[in-house]
């Protein structure tokens, strides 16, 4: 289970400086913890492709951002991902809320988000890890550190 305080602590422990985001209903529960932490700057943007570009600018300037968005926004952000990850080769790290994941596993939803989220990440060649309810912020931190150590983009998908 990932809650706001544990995620904020994990990100700080990893040296993350900024969280650039448009929350969904699950990520949104982290707002208080992220926005009240003086060691993390929460950057609120209007669209997910914009979040990735802001994060890219922060990285060029020496900061260590993560992007937190819903999978619907991931779909919108394809051009930014292509450019920032594959043209500029910046190791963006994303936390992606995977709407309808559990309901889809149980065949109890007609939501198409879980149908396309993983194929989209594969299409954009973004390595990803799915974090389920049994996972903790330590798993998030591990995924971040591994991606940074390998200087590559990565995503964790938060099963919802």
């Amino acid at each position: 289970m990932l809650d706001g305080p544990s995620v904020a602590a994990a990100l700080k422990g990893c040296g993350v400086t900024h969280v650039v985001w448009i929350p969904d209903s699950e990520l949104g529960t982290w707002d208080q913890a992220l926005s009240s932490d003086s060691d993390l700057q929460l950057i609120r943007v209007c669209r997910e492709g914009e979040a990735i570009a802001v994060a890219a600018g922060l990285m060029l300037g020496g900061k260590h951002p993560v992007v937190a968005i819903q999978c619907t926004g991931l779909f919108e952000a394809g051009d930014s991902l292509r450019n920032i990850v594959h043209d500029m080769k910046l190791p963006i790290f994303m936390i992606v809320g995977l709407r309808g994941y559990y309901a889809y596993q149980q065949k109890k939803t007609s939501d198409t988000c879980p149908v396309f989220a993983e194929p989209i990440l594969k299409a954009w060649q973004i390595p990803y890890t799915i974090l389920e309810n049994r996972h903790t912020a330590a798993d998030l931190a591990h995924a971040y550190r591994q991606a940074q150590a390998e200087n590559r983009a990565a995503a964790v998908c938060l099963a919802e």
């Binding site: 990735i52 600018g57 910046l90």
Partner: protein, 187 residues
């Protein structure tokens, strides 16, 4: 109307040590005026994302300052960025080079050609410092004020449209530009 080259000449005189991000048609003429590690030709780009890239840089490097030379077509692809810029004060100056057309694809009119009020949009988004110029004399006179002080600043320049422009090419490979800019900023 202002010619693009004249507009960029004025910018070159006032850019100081700030990072300049160029997009589309301004890339080639700007490269002739300035070619330093702080000049970032954003090509290949993510459509409409130069102001967002500039915001990230400006937040990371608050003492440096960033100027984004954006087209009207690029602005229209991401008008929401004006809200984001207003919400995150930083030393960021966005020049909106408005020729009312997609110049690099053959000069087709944009959806907002001749009607979109970019100054009004910027003000409505919450950006307090907004300037508009449609004559070179006024831009020459106003540039010093517009390009100093606290950001964000939006500067709307109405420039002459041109036909038959070539698709812009990067002056250097993107990887080289990224490395050069990072080294300069972080050294």
């Amino acid at each position: 109307m202002i010619s693009l080259r004249e507009a960029l000449h004025v910018l070159a005189a006032h850019r100081g040590q700030r990072i300049v991000i160029t997009t589309m048609s301004p890339i080639a003429p700007w490269h002739e005026l300035s070619d330093t590690p702080l000049d970032f030709a954003y090509i290949p780009s993510a459509m409409g994302q130069a102001p967002a890239l500039g915001l990230g840089l400006a937040l990371a490097q608050p003492e440096r300052g960033v100027i984004v030379v954006n087209g009207d077509g690029c602005m229209l692809m991401n008008l929401g960025c004006l809200i984001t810029l207003a919400n995150h004060p930083a030393n960021l100056y966005v020049l909106i080079i408005d020729n009312s057309q997609y110049e690099v694809t053959g000069g087709q009119p944009t959806a907002g050609a001749g009607r979109a009020d970019f100054a009004g949009l910027a003000r409505a988004a919450g950006i307090r410092r907004v300037y508009s110029y449609d004559r070179i004399e006024a831009w020459r006179k106003g540039a010093a004020e517009a390009l100093t002080g606290d950001g964000p600043v939006a500067i709307w320049l109405k420039v002459e449209p041109k036909k038959g422009q070539k698709t812009p090419a990067p002056p250097r490979p993107m990887a080289e530009q990224v490395d050069s800019l990072k080294k300069t900023l972080l050294s």
